[in-house]
């Protein structure tokens, strides 16, 4: 525990440097500026002030496995604009971590704060408003098979009560951003796995949430397609969106050299800036 805290302090000290890397290449900026709110480098909170996500000694015990906590005394802070990998084997608690972020499950002990709001005491009716601020991407895409690409993305805006006008302008923009501007009227079946995942990312960010959470976004995809998806996530991150990616894609994590939070059987084993995957295969 003490070691971890120390690590965090060190990281905080280094952080000023680490975010210089977030300065945007001009070409990307121009491409994105139309569709996403762009923060100047100075505007990106440099991990000072309050973090967007705080796990405060969080323990989760599922009733089915009372003796084996899914997460055990996890304390983590994630700041606005960070790109964080959450790594670990199957059953290490990655998905539980993510499900707690969108308050699909509540922690057994401890507190989770998102932007100063305590999820453990949040009223049920407020949960939808929390989720509007967190885009979610999953391994299985979760697209509606009877709706076209456009409709699938529009659905996310429709059901939170956005006007037709907003849908008409925002959906094509976000689909252009993910590179699917030519496939608006295709059905999910007619797309490749990578394209389907792009649709699901488009749906997650169409409402311009400040945070994007991905659970194994490349789990079903080949390495090259995965690379494309990761590039896309990185571009989204450069616009100021905090991105959290749970993965066990070793190559990806090692290549990208971002902050890595490693979980092993419910324990936080490592929290490293510019880290690598680190587990032996």
């Amino acid at each position: 525990m003490a070691e971890q805290n120390q690590g965090r302090a060190l990281r905080a000290a280094r952080r000023g440097g680490s975010h210089v890397a977030h300065a945007k290449p001009a070409s990307v900026t121009s491409q994105l500026s139309a569709s996403l709110p762009v923060l100047e480098v100075d505007d990106i909170p440099q991990n000072m002030g309050s973090p967007v996500i705080t796990f405060d000694h969080v323990t989760k015990i599922y009733p089915a496995q009372p003796n084996r906590p899914a997460l055990n005394d996890i304390s983590v802070q994630i700041y606005a604009g960070e790109f964080v990998f959450l790594v670990g084997h199957s059953g290490s608690g990655k998905s539980t971590f993510i499900r707690m972020l969108i308050r699909e499950v509540k922690p057994t002990e401890g507190h989770i704060y998102i932007a100063d709001e305590d999820l453990t005491t949040m009223r049920n009716w407020r949960v939808p408003y929390l989720r509007r601020n967190i885009g979610c991407v999953f391994q299985d895409f979760k697209l509606l098979p009877n709706k076209t690409v456009f409709e699938n993305v529009a659905f996310a805006l429709e059901v939170i009560g956005k006007s037709k006008h907003v849908i008409k302008t925002q959906v094509p923009e976000v689909l252009r951003l993910v590179g699917l501007q030519d496939k608006l009227n295709k059905l999910p079946d007619q797309l490749s796995g990578g394209e389907q995942q792009r649709v699901s990312i488009a749906r997650a960010i169409v409402n311009r949430p400040p945070m994007l959470v991905c659970d194994e976004p490349t789990g079903n995809l080949d390495p090259q397609t995965s690379r494309g998806i990761m590039d896309l996530l990185e571009r989204i991150n450069r616009t100021g969106t905090t991105v959290l990616v749970a993965t066990h894609d070793r190559e990806m994590v090692d290549n990208m050299r971002r902050r890595v939070i490693a979980l092993d059987r419910g324990y936080l084993t490592r929290d490293q800036d510019r880290g690598v995957y680190g587990f032996d295969a």
């Binding site: 049920n124 509606l144 009560g161 409402n207």
Partner: protein
């Protein structure tokens, strides 16, 4: 308002998705509401008849065919002296037949072949309907009447409104109990049907609901289409029931009134309007409650 349109669109799509269960729930609501409506109309008719009977509380003391005129005047004199009596008159056999033919179809008279089975009667109008039992008792025990009564005993020969009101009451009470039990059963079935239809609709849209929750659709927005679907089923069923009742009012009721002229069946259109409104409202309640119940059980938000 926009989301209202969305709810409507979505719930209409639910109609085509589960056509058979949708029709099932509409038909059960329709039948139960129709039955409720019929019972309500029936109740109003009975009430109408009873109040018309009560209004004209009179005593008919039937006398034997061979009563002399002197005896009649004697009884008349005695009765008009009683407390609470407004007027006394004598109806001969011929007049009785005439009165009867006025309020009944001619077929019955023709079937009599010129015979006249109706007895003559001394008719007593009362000033105070409350005293009807007392006056009837006094006439009954009056010796001149007792010797010349139209039927076997003096008691049988005296007929007054109160009695038919009582009989009507006991009849309508039975009808009411059966009706309430039947309606309760039908409402329960309608409830189960709506519950089931909405459950199927929820299952059919499981994936959509999961995504809606993921992207932060509010609970009301997720529930809206299902509530709307339940309400639509109920309103459609209620509308069908109202339509049937309205048809019955226009086509069946005049015939019944024609066949049973002695009953005051006339019901004002306003009364029907109230019944229709009650049916629509109760249908809506059944629909909303049924779908709300289904959502509580199958739609964890």
């Amino acid at each position: 308002m926009r989301s209202f349109a969305y709810f409507l669109r979505e719930s209409l799509r639910g109609f085509t998705r589960n056509l058979s269960t949708t029709l099932g729930s509409i038909v059960t609501i329709f039948l139960s509401l129709l039955l409720i409506g019929v019972f309500l109309v029936f109740g109003f008719i009975v009430e109408n008849v009873m109040s018309s009977v009560e209004d004209e509380v009179s005593i008919a003391a039937y006398v034997s065919d061979d009563i002399t005129e002197e005896t009649v005047t004697e009884i008349e004199d005695y009765v008009s002296g009683l407390e609470g009596v407004a007027s006394v008159s004598f109806t001969t056999k011929e007049q009785a037949l005439e009165n009867f033919s006025e309020s009944n179809s001619t077929g019955i008279i023709e079937a009599l072949d010129g015979q006249n089975p109706l007895p003559a009667s001394i008719d007593v109008e009362l000033a105070d309907p409350q005293l009807v039992g007392e006056v009837a008792g006094k006439i009954e025990s009056y010796p001149a009447f007792a010797q010349n009564c139209g039927y076997d005993t003096p008691n049988e020969s005296i007929v007054y409104g109160q009695e038919s009101v009582k009989q009507l009451f006991s009849l309508t009470n039975y009808v009411r109990y059966i009706g309430v039990a039947l309606i309760a059963l039908l409402i329960f079935i309608a409830f189960v049907f709506i519950n089931n239809t909405i459950r199927l609709a929820i299952l059919a849209r499981r994936k959509e609901i999961a995504i809606m929750r993921l992207v932060g659709a509010s609970n009301g927005f997720i529930r809206g289409p299902f509530l709307m679907e339940g309400a639509l089923h109920a309103v459609l069923g209620a509308a069908l029931a109202v339509l049937c009742l309205e048809l019955a009012r226009n086509m069946l009721l005049p015939r019944i009134a024609g066949a049973l002229k002695f009953l005051a069946i006339d019901i004002q259109f306003q009364t029907f309007l109230i019944i229709y409104l009650a049916l629509l409202v109760s249908g809506l309640l059944i629909g909303l409650l049924g779908s709300a119940l289904a959502m509580r059980r199958y739609l964890k938000v």
